[in-house]
């Protein structure tokens, strides 16, 4: 039997990886991908807990489902924004997006 914590650690690792990516990727798209990883980490947690709570309740899974939907929505918006920026500034590198500072 696989212990609960191992699933959670998998989630934590994904979370950390996503965070690292979000902090270090140069392209906006890269950051978006990393964010997807973070959302997945959360999802893993939810589903894990749902199982190990051992009840009839399906909250965890439903929540995870909703998260997926929202992730999809936010991915759409994020990518549209990336495209808009690319359209106006011809770049996807975040360090070039600093016309507003200080």
């Amino acid at each position: 039997m696989i212990p609960q914590s191992h699933f959670l650690i998998l989630g934590a690792v994904l979370f950390a990886t996503g965070l690292y990516g979000a902090l270090t990727r140069r392209t906006a798209i890269g950051i978006l991908m990393s964010i997807e990883l973070i959302l997945n980490a959360a999802n893993i947690n939810l589903i894990t807990f749902n199982k190990f709570l051992g009840g009839p309740d399906s909250l965890g899974q439903v929540f995870a489902l909703f998260v997926m939907a929202i992730a999809a929505a936010s991915a759409v918006i994020g990518l549209v924004l990336v495209i808009a920026v690319y359209r106006n500034m011809k770049t996807i590198f975040t360090e070039n997006m600093n016309i507003m500072k200080w």
């Binding site: 965070l19 902090l23 975040t94 360090e95 600093n98 500072k101 200080w102």
Partner: protein, 620 residues
């Protein structure tokens, strides 16, 4: 009759109000307003005097001035021989001098304002004399000081006059603060501010001494006692009638009056009295010596005033209340006379340097003879008034058993006689030293002279004359010596006198070589040491004492500058610094907002990590 005494000051005040408001329209009439007021005051003063003389001893209350719970202060008037006498003197002299001023100021462009100030002064002075408590006295005390300031710098276009006025006010003010502190101390130790309670205060001597000395500070400032006397000679920048009234007869006497008024305070312990005596002595001698070598007619008189006041203080200091106050009165008359004569002379010759004058007796009979009378009076030649008072002072000193002080007094009166007659001889006798078109002054000026001369002669008999033949002889001898010496210098070798004293020495040597031995002896034995001492004294006065005053003024200005610098750069600097520092922080902190989104995220999560860490360490 006494009950109207409180009206006395009101007339002059009214005159002041009228003149200051309507002076423009009144023009010459303003003089009459002031004089009328003075005459009215005089009348009531006479009534008061008589009433008092006939045993109507009455101090009474006018009204409440200030009161809050527990503390209340009523203003009232004191009627006793001293105040009555002074009232008479002030009103008489004041009236005469104002009449005199009609002539003296006739073509001045601020004619009416002059008389306004004069009346203001009269009012304040009379109020001062009448006041029965310290606060009231202090109010009028400052009032007369103000008037002296206004009148000294009356011709304010002359920078010297402006400066002199300021100097006078400040110097006296220094004394006045002493007086104020004294008053405060008195109130909080003795819980009274009335003169009548001063006799038997149940306070220990030490405190009492301090209070007395503080009050004496005020007196010294007003009546130009060493070391606060420096303002008086400069005060001569004012119009001569002013010098006569304020800086000879009345205001400067206020100091002596104050000491006399609070005499009970001094009598109850002797330290302060001794101080008074010695200060008086120093002043008297120093001023007299200076006077002997000065060439400015008014300054000579000013120094003589100082020395005479010193004499009065000395008298009071040795317990000679009678003599002091008596001399106060007589001095008022003859010194006023002398000043007015000087004024008349200056009016005639438009100079104040005695060595530009000479032989005026022929041209100006009235002025000349009255001047001589005044001179005799101040030199203490019987039967002139000065003789009686001075003689009384001397005898009191002797009785008090102060040989040293007696010597000083004697020397002073010798010198007095000398410089007075030096002045008289140079101005009135001999030939004119420069072409002057001198002419007698108009009657409006000479009549007061004559009247004052009369007072100068007979004022001595206001009080019963008492004879101590020893001192009388001594004093007569002294005065005659002085006069004789002066005669010897300035009449005998009159033809040989050059314009200026200094250059005369060389000339004397030439005379010696021309076998005029007498002059040599004179010169060797008397004049040169005398002159040198005088030189040293006046040098001391002008450099050290006066210098000290100026130095303090200068230093305080410097201090002011330093502190304003401090204010600007330190106190304010701190304020501005905080502002700048904030601005700097802002300039630095905003740099975190790099515009690079992943920096934002990094910062955010860094903060988050720290928070979690805190939780992990802090637990729960």
């Amino acid at each position: 009759m006494v009950k109207y005494a409180h009206l006395i000051p009101l007339f002059p005040f009214a005159a002041f109000a009228v003149n200051i408001l309507f002076g423009r329209r009144l023009k010459k009439a303003s003089a009459l307003v002031s004089i009328g007021a003075s005459v009215a005051a005089l009348a009531i003063a006479v009534m008061a005097y008589i009433g008092n003389a006939c045993g109507g001893e009455g101090s009474y209350t006018i009204g409440r001035w200030i009161s809050f719970n527990g503390f209340s202060l009523d203003f009232g008037v004191t009627i006793d021989p001293l105040s009555c006498m002074m009232l008479l003197v002030v009103t008489v002299v004041g009236t005469l001098i104002q009449i005199y001023s009609i002539g003296y100021m006739h073509d001045d462009k601020r004619y009416s304002r002059f008389f306004a100030y004069m009346s203001l002064f009269m009012g304040s002075m009379l109020g001062l004399l009448l006041s029965d408590n310290f606060v009231m006295l202090y109010i009028f005390w400052e009032g007369v000081g103000l008037c002296s300031y206004l009148l000294i710098s009356f011709w304010f276009e002359r920078p010297a006059a402006a400066k002199a006025g300021m100097k006078a006010f400040i110097t006296t003010r220094i004394g006045d603060t002493g007086l104020l502190i004294g008053i405060l101390m008195l109130f909080f130790t003795a819980k009274t501010l009335y003169f009548k309670d001063l006799a038997g205060l149940g306070i220990n001597d030490a405190t009492l001494t301090v209070i007395a000395l503080l009050i004496f500070c005020g007196a010294a400032g007003k009546s130009a006692q060493f070391p606060l006397h420096v303002w008086l000679p400069d005060a001569m920048e004012g119009p001569t009638p002013v010098s006569a009234l304020i800086h000879a007869a009345t205001m400067v006497a206020a100091g002596v009056y104050l000491v006399a008024r609070t005499y009970g305070l001094f009598l109850s312990q002797h330290t302060s009295l001794t101080w008074v005596a010695y200060i008086g002595a120093i002043t008297a001698l120093m001023a007299a010596t200076i006077a002997t070598c000065n060439n400015d007619i008014k300054r000579i008189l000013a120094y003589s005033t100082i020395s005479q006041l010193g004499l009065m203080m000395l008298a009071l200091g040795v317990g000679g209340y009678e003599g002091g106050t008596f001399h106060l009165m007589t001095h008022a008359f003859f010194k006023a006379l002398l000043f007015l004569c000087a004024g008349s002379v200056i009016h005639a010759v438009h100079t104040q340097d005695i060595f530009k004058m000479g032989g005026l007796l022929g041209k100006m009979k009235a002025t000349g003879w009255t001047l001589i009378i005044g001179g005799l009076a101040i030199s203490g030649v019987p039967p002139f008034s000065g003789f009686w008072s001075k003689d009384e002072i001397l005898s009191e000193i002797l009785k008090g058993g102060h040989p040293v002080l007696f010597g000083v007094a004697a020397l002073t009166s010798l010198l007095t006689a000398f410089y007075m007659f030096r002045l008289i001889f140079i101005v009135l006798f001999g030939k004119p030293r420069s072409e002057l078109h001198a002419h007698e002054s108009p009657a409006v000026m000479t009549v007061p002279l004559v009247i004052l001369a009369a007072f100068a002669i007979f004022a001595g008999f206001f009080r019963p004359v008492k004879f101590e033949f020893l001192t009388m002889g001594v004093s007569i001898a002294i005065s005659l010596t002085g006069i004789g010496a002066a005669y010897a210098f300035y009449i005998l070798n009159n033809k040989l006198l050059p314009a200026s004293l200094r250059s005369r020495f060389a000339f004397l040597y030439k005379l010696v070589s021309n076998k005029y031995y007498v002059d040599e002896i004179y010169d060797a034995l008397v004049i040169r040491p005398c002159m040198r001492f005088a030189d040293i004294a006046s040098g001391f006065d002008s450099k050290v004492v006066d210098g000290a005053v100026n130095l303090t003024a200068y230093l305080s200005v410097i201090a002011g500058k330093v502190q304003s610098w401090f204010d600007l750069y330190i106190v304010d600097g701190i304020v501005n610094m905080t502002a700048n520092v904030t601005w700097l922080c802002s300039a630095i902190l905003r740099r975190f907002q790099t515009g690079f989104v992943q920096n934002y995220i990094l910062i955010a999560f860094f903060g988050l990590a720290i928070m979690i860490l805190i939780k992990l360490i802090g637990g729960r």
